[in-house]
Symmetry: C2
Subunit: 213 residues, 2 copies
């Protein structure tokens, strides 16, 4: 019997990735919503869990693990609760390292750069054309790379790696959705647009988003 | 007998991380320097290896793996060539997930944000005070978080995880060095400053940097 996991999170692109994956895994989890407007994530009790003071953070009383950083949480959940590899690939396999490469791509480039575009579009107190151009161009380049990754794998289906959805798809989804919300039409990329539409319609995705609202 | 690895790289913060780790591992590797000034990393032959068109990329004829993204390369090398866990922690252990969390922190926050500071300080054609302030402040916050991570582990020594250097230390080193080169005095953080000085003096670090010059 697995005790429910505890997820400290909020309705953000990174937050959605984890709740979506937990829905696919069918695991029980308790959500504690963190109020980003009052900077609850910088309070002492939370910084003890995550020195970086950002959501999402997961604690698992079954293993004693406390973990932050979206990609690390996804990989931890796959290692621990996806032993049949329905949403991940076997440790050490060629697919495992493709999964790791693209998982990290999604958090090391797609996430930070789309995050900057979002900031300069919505949050910055002044419009800075240079920054909007810089990040707008790079987000489109990155979405093009993601399209090409699906293209290279398309004989297996519309997935980033192998023959089924994996933690890469859930990780890419969070900020791809945000790019759409920032006015970038994902359908300009043949494979990425179709991939996004299909994954968006999965009940697990809808529930993973809804639970954080 | 292990065939030499092939490393496509350049003298950048991300490039250094891999050559430094390869030096610590004592592995044979052939370096192919990629000319970033002529955008060699965007040429067709290279994009076949890495759809993102960025260095570093590693190919390993011993396993058939081709891999990009600095954190993925570091983890791959640890899994494959550090079976005694001299510079990494055992798959599935509590330390392994701390290692994964901080490894990802280094590539998902430290790297991208320091990269933006570097761009707006050195490469952007105009000085944009808002961007310089935004990234300057966040780089210092991140370096403070890294200092706190070492602080929490200091009873074990000046390491990010456990009782020895690991792929986290090599990953953090690349952009910590850059922050220093951008005029940020790392000694303002007690533990991070000492950690940086000690690691900088390791012969493997010096050789890993020198080999890319």
């Amino acid at each position: 019997m697995t005790a429910p996991l505890k997820l400290y999170t909020a309705a953000t692109p990174n937050g959605f990735k984890i709740s979506i994956f937990l829905e696919f895994l069918g695991l029980k989890y308790d959500v504690q919503k963190i109020n980003l407007r009052t900077n609850e994530q910088k309070e002492d009790w939370f910084v003890k869990l995550n020195p970086n003071g950002r959501i999402p953070t997961l604690t698992d009383s079954n293993t004693g693990v406390t973990i932050s950083q979206t990609a690390a949480i996804l990989q931890y959940l796959a290692d621990t609760y996806d032993k049949d590899h329905k949403f991940s690939y076997k440790f050490g396999s060629v697919e495992y390292y493709k999964q790791l490469e693209y998982l990290i791509y999604s958090v090391a480039e797609q996430g930070p750069i789309t995050g900057q575009l979002s900031h300069f579009t919505r949050a910055a107190p002044e419009k800075i054309p240079y920054a909007l151009e810089r990040y707008g161009t790079d987000v489109k380049r990155i979405l093009g790379v993601l399209d090409e990754i699906i293209n290279r794998n398309k004989d297996n289906g519309l997935y980033f790696v192998g023959t089924h959805y994996s933690i890469v798809d859930f990780s890419v989804f969070g900020w791809a959705r945000s790019a759409g919300n920032l006015g970038i039409d994902l359908d300009q990329w043949t494979y990425l647009g179709k991939w996004f539409k299909e994954l968006s319609e999965a009940p697990e995705v809808k529930k993973g988003i809804e639970i954080l609202q």
